[in-house]
Symmetry: D2
Subunit: 137 residues, 4 copies
């Protein structure tokens, strides 16, 4: 696969009194797509907490908001792997409404750490392979 | 102390597109008061996660909503200990606006479990003592 | 239809440092099922905010938690209409894991209000009909 | 005032199963500081929803995470006004732990819109004045 595509519908609790998606919830929503991606490449979050072998905390994020989203709006979210480094990787997300208009973007930068010390470690080889192959042709 | 009193201001992310507090966030807010109470009786949550000696999951909750709360509304939250059993305890919360009107209530029932097995265990004696003394005259 | 059935997977942001679903998020999750139900009977939330004809705030809720739920756990949520009154209705939810074990329940009691005054009004007839027919044989 | 300083304690519901602050909640937390700032310069959110004169949606955000934050950790959050444009302004936040270590940063870019059309409008003069004076000597 070259990219992951998921659909998400804005829920009431994602909105605030301004009637639209609360900005931080756009990051919550794209994180759900990352979570589904990790399950699909057979590295589900759950296993990390059971094995406590490596965690993948986010060290940087950013997001743009081009259009307000209201409750009931469905968006298509495309996840792409932008970069895979020695001990980090970067994911980019594009949110598109059902008319094909890009309504927002997001990016998350992750590092690999040892859950015991929270120190940076290299990406485990099997995980790096799964990541890289997931974006291969 | 016989009761714990805290103040809470409704934040934008606590509301939804209806312009008022999203109902589940009332439980989030009273849980913050419970968290402050636990710190005050010297049983902060953090220590449980460090020592993994006992956890206190909620097995039942309920809440009433008498008045809508909007962003910027400040409520006084009073926590009372309603019952302390062998391996459980019940907390009751009353939310009052600044005119003294009761705007909501909540209740949480907690059990003591072993974090390794998630099986019920008796309330540790020191914790039970701290709980009971916190409500003593 | 006699009941609504949806599936929900516990996401990382639904959990807390104890490793399981934060209790208030069970109410957030069942509310999503209510939201999907409302769309299905052609009374989507969005239209209420556009028309400001009637809102359906929750005046009471309760929930039981029988089993801890971890990230990645999928539950089946069944929504049933327990009661339809003159200006209120009650929804009951049952959460079952994929082995058929009931892991939790919830209940929400809703009243109909005029969004301008936030005073109770009767259930609009078309909505009451849609609610009642949704549970008919 | 040249900067706004608030304290925030990480709550259980801010964390996830990795035991630390869920990344998007750092943005939720700094938004609370923005909300308190707006009240302090006499432009509380609530009034915007009552008067529906102008809204201030976020069009861009970014955040860095230097240290994991656990439940019970208290951080000092400093808000600075980085830029005030014709119809937008930028806020920068620095999160520091009680040892004075910078644990994270965030930035939010806001535009002024007409709530009826959601189209960009100039910053209302009184609001611009309050913003600029809030950062004056």
């Amino acid at each position: 696969m070259r990219e992951i595509k998921e659909y998400c519908t804005i829920r009431l609790h994602d909105t605030d009194a301004a009637g639209i998606l609360f900005f931080a919830n756009q990051l919550k929503i794209v994180h759900d797509v990352y979570e589904q991606f990790m399950t699909r490449i057979d590295f589900p979050f759950r296993r990390r907490f059971e094995e406590r072998d490596f965690y993948l905390p986010i060290v940087h994020t950013e997001a743009d908001f081009f259009q307000p989203l209201a409750v009931g709006d469905t968006v298509e979210i495309i996840l792409k792997i932008e970069a895979v480094g020695n001990s980090s990787f970067t994911l980019a997300y594009t949110l598109t409404d059902l008319d094909g208009i890009v309504v927002g973007t997001a990016r998350t930068v992750h590092v690999t750490v040892d859950p015991a010390t929270w120190k940076k470690i290299p990406l485990p080889e099997a995980f790096r392979k799964a990541l890289v192959e997931s974006v291969g042709d």
